[in-house]
């Protein structure tokens, strides 16, 4: 079916149909299709990105929650099932796709839509790296979506990005990235432990890059978070850190890396 141009054009129209149920069924159809890896590139590239464009707009603007959920899941399956890096690149290079996903993560009132969008960004972060034209856009999207801390998707995405050596310089040099990481590392909510750990892990991995250590050492937020536990006013470890040896290890490791620059 996916190879049939007329069918995909019809889906394009049905996705924006005025009848709610029609949009629901159309979005469900396309969700079914992207469940097959062979169809992902076809759908992402169809009509020079027309279908992707419509999906993006539906995700951002459709009134019906079920339609948005279907489309968000479609994006997730597109990225997850894709065996072709060109598909990821097509999504990454789309003008609105990454920004729409990011804004959806923080603004959509449907938890499912937020979750699928966040997971999509996470999977994209595992595949898009420095050198790709869409890498700056991805970093911007991750920074925007980092306000969503109910799940650790975005923090995991940042951690994955920092794991790759070639990404580190571009990450640190990206305006706002260190602020983002420091704010995530500063979370002390009951359910924020995983997010904080991921953020600290990202910071620690960034400090492994000698060229960025100075910039990181100069960053107030980063240094505050790294030194907060050790130099807390009461000299007692944060209650959430008492049992978190991993976090402490990461912080110490990061501080060691930055010691020469301090």
């Amino acid at each position: 079916m996916a190879s049939y141009d007329d069918f995909l054009y019809a889906l394009l129209n049905l996705l924006t149909d005025e009848v709610i149920n029609t949009r629901r069924y159309a979005s469900s159809t396309i969700l079914n299709l992207v469940g097959t890896p062979k169809n992902t590139h076809r759908i992402a590239s169809f009509g020079k990105g027309k279908l992707l464009h419509v999906l993006t707009r539906v995700l951002a603007l459709d009134d019906v929650e079920e339609v948005r959920i279907n489309v968000a899941e479609t994006f997730f399956n597109l990225v997850k099932n894709s065996t072709d890096l060109r598909t990821i690149e097509l999504i990454g290079r789309h003008r609105d796709a990454l920004s729409s996903l990011a804004s959806t993560v923080i603004s959509d009132y449907s938890a499912d839509v937020r979750a699928y969008s966040g997971r999509t960004l996470e999977w994209l972060a595992a595949d898009i790296h420095f050198g790709s034209q869409s890498h700056p856009g991805l970093l911007d999207a991750l920074m925007e979506a980092s306000q969503w801390t109910k799940t650790n998707c975005i923090a995991e995405a940042l951690k994955a990005q920092a794991s790759m050596e070639e990404n580190r310089i571009s990450m640190v040099e990206r305006p706002g990235m260190l602020d983002t990481l420091s704010s995530l590392a500063a979370l002390h909510g009951v359910n924020d432990e995983e997010v904080r750990e991921c953020a600290l892990a990202a910071i620690e991995r960034l400090t492994n890059e000698p060229y960025v250590r100075k910039a990181m050492a100069m960053h107030e937020g980063i240094m505050t978070e790294l030194t907060r536990a050790t130099f807390s006013t009461n000299n007692i470890l944060d209650q959430y850190e008492e049992h978190d040896k991993v976090t402490r290890t990461l912080m110490k490791s990061a501080l060691k890396n930055l010691a020469n620059e301090i």
């Binding site: 069918f7 924006t16 149909d17 951002a60």
Partner: protein
């Protein structure tokens, strides 16, 4: 009360007023939405009584209002519960589905479409036949109307469009006999790909016209469509005579009786080609009807009349009729102007009488919709030869004007969507859309739209069955028709239904991945070295025998 009404209906045969009164009472009785009551009606075998009546009515006077009323009553009866409808379907499916397919096939719009297609085919064949061929005495030709491809065994010649009329090849023009046709039809469905010959059919008359070819084949064509050929629809003796009177009120020639008495329904022209339908039609005068002392000859005349009814002459506009070939027709027969006028009027009447009543068509589609809701009926319906093709055709019927306007509106809308790239303009487009939708919703639901709605709803139900998903997707023309409805239909519900069909079809794992293009298979098939000669040699080659396969339309 219901029992009494059904008994009355069952017993009402003649006169017509009595039938009409019984039918009217039945309709008044059945016209309600009480599911349990409809169940009781089915228990009292209202479905079978009505089926018998419809069968008879379809055979005798399919355009009569009575036909529509009977279908109406049957539709009412089938408003029963699904379980009871399932039971009824199980009992009558073998008989009712062929009847319904024929009723749909004989709707006026469908006939015109088939004739247009037949004319196109004949033009193509004529153009093709102008080229030199190695072997001109072909054994058969494949004709196409809609998506049916049937091969006749003998007797087709170029330019003879009458064989195409039913969307199928009619083996020979003079093959029509009510019992023969009914037997052939029944056996057709049950015995695929085996030529059916006279001596295999019990109950056939001892002697048949010599040139009657009862060879029908169900063959496999490259795109996998089942191909089955139906003989023409039988007509009752009375109607045949009446039709003949209407068609040929002024033609009298002593040669007619002589020609008719030969027992052949086809005549040989000067060039040796057979031109049986038209010639036989023109040669029968009303004064001779029923005047044959020999019953055998009389029966043969009936055969000829029936052929005339099926022939293109009765349907085709006068200018498209074939010219007479025999010398007496060309030289001696010059009808007067008055006769021509009256002939034309009567031809119109005949044309009209030959089509299934419009209301009956609508109700049949409604009944099919009811059937399709039954799980046990989904698979048999989808696999019944010809039914999907008729449904496809119903999907394509549009009320002139409305659909065009809607298509323009929708295209404008889609163009606007393409141009407006920013998100805000998308909102504005939606608001414009809502205004247009309000305008559209005010349009009344014409007959074509109602038929389309029932049809697409039927297809939705059929697409629910797992076994049907692949079948429906690969059925030639169905996917295109559904896409067309999804994209362009004026009715919101129709588009919604079409989107459900697409969704259901996309659920099948086999359908998700792009299926191999049929044209590719075709090309691979024909490129096989072993078949090269077969393909390229004259009219018996594959490319000759499948000239109209819509392989391009399925090329993804």
């Amino acid at each position: 009360m219901t029992t009494h009404i059904l008994t009355e209906l069952n017993n009402a045969i003649s006169p017509k007023e009595k039938r009409a009164a019984a039918l009217q009472a039945a309709i008044e009785e059945f016209n309600h939405d009480n599911c349990h009551k409809h169940d009781q009606e089915l228990e009292l075998q209202a479905d079978k009584i009505l089926f018998q009546k419809i069968s008879y009515s379809f055979t005798v006077h399919k355009h009569d209002e009575e036909m529509g009323m009977l279908a109406c009553a049957m539709e009412m009866v089938y408003r029963a519960s699904r379980g009871r409808v399932a039971l009824s379907f199980q009992e009558v499916q073998d008989s009712i589905l062929p009847l319904f397919v024929e009723m749909l096939r004989w709707s006026s719009v469908r006939r015109k479409h088939i004739i247009r297609a037949a004319n196109r085919d004949s033009q193509i064949q004529e153009a093709a036949s102008s080229a030199p061929h190695e072997n001109d005495d072909s054994e058969g030709t494949v004709v196409s109307a809609g998506t049916f491809y049937t091969k006749g065994v003998k007797g087709m010649k170029n330019g003879d469009t009458t064989e195409h009329l039913n969307g199928h090849f009619h083996p020979e023009p003079s093959n029509d006999n009510a019992s023969l046709v009914s037997i052939l039809k029944t056996d057709h469905l049950a015995v695929p790909s085996t030529p059916i010959r006279n001596n295999l059919l019990p109950g056939l008359p001892d002697e048949l016209p010599k040139n009657v070819s009862t060879e029908f084949t169900i063959e496999c064509i490259p795109n996998g469509t089942e191909c089955i050929s139906f003989p023409p629809e039988p007509h009752s003796k009375e109607e045949k005579v009446e039709d003949n009177i209407l068609m040929n009120p002024v033609r009298k020639n002593d040669k007619d009786a002589q020609d008719n008495s030969t027992g052949t329904a086809s005549t040989t022209n000067s060039d040796g080609t057979q031109n049986s339908h038209l010639d036989g039609n023109k040669k029968n005068s009303p004064s001779e009807v029923g005047s044959f002392p020999d019953s055998r000859i009389n029966r043969q005349r009936q055969v000829r009349f029936s052929d005339k009814v099926q022939s293109s002459e009765a349907i085709l506009p006068p200018q498209t009729k074939m010219k007479p070939h025999s010398s007496w027709e060309q030289n001696e027969y010059v009808p007067s102007t008055e006769a021509q006028n009256s002939n034309a009027e009567k031809q119109k009447v005949v044309k009209k009488e030959r089509y299934t009543h419009a209301l009956a068509v609508l109700k049949v589609l409604k009944i099919l919709r009811y059937f399709s809701r039954v799980l046990s009926a989904m698979v048999p319906m989808a696999h019944f030869p010809g039914l999907l093709d008729e449904l496809i055709f119903q999907l394509r019927i549009r009320k002139s004007g409305v659909d065009g306007m809607d298509s323009i509106l929708r295209k404008r809308q889609s163009a606007k969507t393409e141009i407006d790239d920013d998100l805000n303009s998308f909102k504005s487009a939606k608001s414009v859309e809502s205004i247009e939708s309000k305008q559209k919703s005010s349009q009344y639901l014409d007959n074509a739209s109602a038929a389309r709605m029932d049809t697409i709803a039927t297809i939705v139900n059929l697409a629910c069955a797992e076994e049907n998903k692949v079948k429906l997707l690969r059925h030639p023309g169905l996917f295109d028709a559904v896409i067309h409805v999804a994209e362009h239909d004026v009715i919101d519900n129709a588009r919604e239904h079409a989107s459900i069909v697409l969704m259901n079809l996309a659920l099948a794992e086999e359908n998700k991945v792009c299926y191999k293009s049929i044209s590719l298979i075709y090309v691979q098939f024909v490129e096989h070295s072993f078949l090269t000669n077969l393909i390229s040699t004259g009219r018996n080659g594959i490319l000759r025998r499948f000239p109209l396969c819509p392989i391009e339309s399925l090329d993804g």
